[in-house]
């Protein structure tokens, strides 16, 4: 039962990373990036590193999202390429 959960987490991780790379709307890309970061945190916890997973969840899903939203607010909302 253990490796199925990790496989599901890895699948969501890779899909979230690909979606975040391909999105034009940068705010949606930031939300997808927080999903990526949260999946990384869950993988860390499933490997037994609770402190690293806690730090990853707090920093990656909280503060980095706020900073990206602030930077998008100061610059532009649509991707150019």
């Amino acid at each position: 039962m253990h490796w199925q959960i990790e496989f599901l987490l890895f699948a969501i991780l890779i899909v979230a990373a690909l979606i975040a790379l391909n999105l034009r709307n940068l705010l949606a890309a930031v939300v997808t990036l927080t999903i990526f970061s949260f999946m990384v945190a869950l993988l860390m916890i499933s490997m037994g590193a609770v402190d690293v997973g806690f730090t990853e969840a707090v920093v990656g899903a909280g503060i980095v999202g706020i900073y990206f939203v602030a930077a998008i607010f100061k610059t532009t909302r649509k991707s150019e390429d």
Partner: protein
Amino acid sequence: MTGQTHSPIIEVAGRGLAPIIQLIGIYVFFHGHYGPGGGFQGGVLLAAGVLLLRMTVGAENSQAHVAAKRTLTNCAIGAVIFVGTGIVAILGGGYFLDYAHLPVQWLEPAYMRYYGILFVELGITLGVMTGLITIYDDILEVDYA
């Protein structure tokens, strides 16, 4: 993003959630000796509460909570608490950051290490919290005077 929001739902939710997030941050900081957590995570949670208030009720209205002009000073104070603990350990006769040689006479060395870890984590919490608030204020150019 620096102004006050126009939606009353977002404002009430932000004002209700921010003290709870900061309470969890203080719990994580003090519970770092006994479970997962510690200074860095607690400081980031405290900063997340302040940034939620900065985004919901506006930058000017949340200056009474944490003033933008004092955050960088407090970040330096946090770093000085960390390094000062190490230098006090040097003055007590040990190596740098060797808490067993802190000049406290009535404690065993093991419990001096306990309280040394607590002081160091206090410095990390203060420094990380105010440092992250400083970066947010500088990105959005919040008026600081």
